[in-house]
Structure formats: structure tokens, C-alpha cells
């Protein structure tokens, strides 16, 4: 029996739509009926996860409760940063008997599993917001891998790109700049990369990255298809 996927989205809206597309692309389907049923709350008014974390946590918990009421059996949130404020979601899922797919853990697992196949990779670069960086730093450390992060002007340039995508800027200059930042991490010793923000793949495709890139949105989509089909 297939399960209903609940999506806590809107962070940002374009990343959420791209995530839905990935779920469909990863689903073997000969017609409509083979696809996964998705109930979604795409709420672009969730308080900013970087500047209002406490308020975001309360809102996200309420969204999870509404999705549970709407029939969701598996919950996913295609926003890495917001996972720092997932306590309310986890509480709802536990109370209601729903599965919450942890995007950070799934992505760190996937990156490290690839690492095991490439003996010697011990430093993974992370393209993420400050909140996302902290989550991946901890997640990778607990798996014996060091995170390589952007700093200074490059970190600010990264956030400018993320907010640019949220304004609809996915143009050539933005793509070139994201590729440059990936190169900065590779030059700083990263032997592999994690796209740890759902806006990253809207600017940088895994096949264009200077070193192997594990895309958190792809990992989450794959985990959702596995959990629901």
C-alpha cells in the first residue's frame, strides 16, 4: 500500500516545486495513478529560519499537525536550514505515528556512503546557510568527516545567491558565482561537496561541480519515494 507524502514547503517556493518535480521523476509511473499522493502546505510566510528560529519552530509544528489531519503518513521538509527548528514537527510525528524523514541525516549518510567507496575522502565541503552549516558540521563530525565551510565575503556571497533565487534570479551570473563558490571549497581541501540548501541545485547541477556533489534535495526526494512506494 502506497503512503501519502506530506510536504512542509515554501522555504523557498521555487525549491519546493523543484523538489516535487524530483519526486515525480524518481517515481516509476505508467500513468497518473502510479504517482505518489502529496498533501502540501507551501507556506512562504514561515518566519525566516536564519533570523527568527523560535517563531519558525512553532509555525512548522502547526503545519505538520495540519498535514497529519489531511492524511499525510510520511512528512518531509525540503529546506535544510529549517531542520534546526524541526522539534515541533518531530513531536507531532511521534504523537500521530508518522515518519519524519530527516534531510540532514539522510544527506550526511549518502555523502559518507559515497565517501566509503572513495577511500581517503575525509573532508566534505558544505554549501549551506549558517544554520545549515551548523547542522551538517555536527552531522558529518558524528560520521567521522570534517566539514569545509565558506567564510568571510564568500559566505556573504553565498547568502546573496540564496536570497536571489528566492527573488527569481537563476540567471547565468548567479550560476557562475555558485560554481565559483563550489571551487573555493574544493580549493580549500574539500574532496567532495554537499549541496546543503535547496536553492543550490537551482544554480549548480551535480554534473557541473568541480568534485562529487551530493544534493540534499535529490537525497530527500529519493528517500520519500522509498518511504511512500
Amino acid at each position: 500500500m502506497t503512503k501519502i507524502l506530506g510536504v512542509i514547503g515554501g522555504m523557498g517556493p521555487a525549491a519546493t516545486v523543484a523538489f516535487l518535480e524530483r519526486v515525480q521523476a524518481l517515481t516509476p509511473a505508467q500513468g497518473d495513478a502510479d504517482h505518489i499522493r502529496v498533501v502540501m502546505d507551501m507556506n512562504p510566510q514561515v518566519p525566516d529560519r536564519n533570523t527568527w528560529p523560535g517563531e519558525a519552530e512553532v509555525v512548522l509544528g502547526r503545519m505538520a499537525a495540519r498535514l497529519a489531519a489531511a492524511g499525510a503518513q510520511v512528512i518531509a521538509m525540503p529546506c535544510n536550514t529549517a531542520h534546526a527548528q524541526a522539534a515541533g514537527i518531530r513531536a507531532v510525528c511521534e504523537a500521530e505515528g508518522l515518519s519524519f524523514i530527516d534531510m540532514i541525516a539522510a544527506t550526511a549518510d549518502a555523502a559518507v556512503a559515497a565517501h566509503d567507496l572513495n577511500d581517503g575522502v575525509q573532508r566534505i565541503g558544505v554549501l549551506a546557510t549558517p544554520g545549515g552549516e551548523r547542522l551538517y558540521q555536527a552531522g558529518l563530525a558524528s560520521r567521522g568527516v570534517e566539514a569545509v565551510l565558506l567564510d568571510g565575503a564568500d559566505r556573504e556571497a553565498f547568502m546573496a545567491l540564496v536570497y536571489g533565487v528566492k527573488r527569481g534570479d537563476v540567471g547565468e551570473a548567479a550560476r557562475a558565482e555558485m560554481l565559483r563558490l563550489a571551487g573555493v571549497l574544493a580549493d580549500a581541501g574539500a574532496q567532495a561537496l554537499i549541496a546543503g540548501c535547496t536553492e543550490v541545485p537551482l544554480l549548480l547541477r551535480a554534473e557541473d561541480a568541480p568534485v562529487r556533489l551530493t544534493d540534499s534535495a535529490e537525497v530527500l526526494a529519493r528517500a520519500c519515494v522509498g518511504a511512500c512506494l
Copy 2:
């Protein structure tokens, strides 16, 4: 105060995602918070609208009720064919004080408004499923315009393309065939076209059509942005 958009989707899943993209593209936004909140039930298991209309009507009504409970204030269904089974949705919207945007009426209005600007256009070709054809035939007739429809093998070819999109086939051959069918309608006297099935724009862009094309998915997205912002 912006309103929450409720989307009854999944017919088909790819068309629903393309519709969400259009809503975002039509929304003036400088960041996440400027976008419209969307609660969605993307249910690819709605009984086939062409073969099981009665069953579809019941399921669609239940979906509308769930979206109302989830906070939706405006309801849209990006599937033309399913509008023949919208009675249950209309009943829920009336009872709950929600607006239901009628995709057929909005598209017929838009096509005829363009017609008024192009004096002499009295025959509009409709690319739609059999159920969608009947809705547009009635909608255009009540506006004093004759619908031009495909027949025989061309009508079967159209349905094969629609079911192909639902399997993920949006390749070059499928695009060329949809363009050919648009040409058949133009050759049969259609002075303008309606893309009256949400799978059509996944194969044929308005700018490639042989005569002016009014895209029902674009019309609905525009109406949703107007109703919610």
C-alpha cells in the same frame, strides 16, 4: 490581506507542478514571504475523469473539504476535464464561503476577450479530452463562438499524447505531433486555439502555435494570483 490558495491537483501530477510554477512566475516577489501560500492535495488516484466521472465527483468533493479544513480560501483545480465533475467542489465552496475559480469559464472569457480585439474570429479550435471538449463547446457557444474540434484518428492521437505526458513522455516526437494537431484545427478553420487540457502546454508553447493560443493553465494561474494577492 493575501488569501491561501487551495489546489486540487494530480490530474496529472506533472501538469500540477507546472501550474504551481506558473503561479510563482506570475507573482511579483522580492523574497519568499511575497509568494502565495498554497495548500494542495495532489491526488493522482482520483478516478479517471474520462472513464469514471461519478466516482471522480465524490472524491473531488472530499478533497475540497479537506483543503477548506486546511485553511484554503480560494480553490482551483488545474484540470479542465475534471471540471465536468466539479459539483461536489462547488457545494463545499458554497457551504464554507470559499471561492472556486472555474477554469473553463475563465479560459473561455479570456479567449473571447482576445477575440473581441480581433474582429472576425468566430471559430476557436479546442485541444482537449472528450470531456473537456464538451465543456468548451458549451462555454464558447454561450459566448457566441463556435468550437472547432479534432475527430477520428486525430482525436485518438491527441488522447495518446495526453496519456503519454502522464507517463513522462514530453519528447520531440510528442511535441511535433501536438503541433501537427494544432495545425489540423487551424486548417479546419480555427482562427484561434484554446489549450483546454493542462497536459497541452507541456508539449506546445503558445509562441509555437500556428494561430493565437489561449492556455487554460496560464489563465487559471493568472486568475489565482489575482484572487489571492
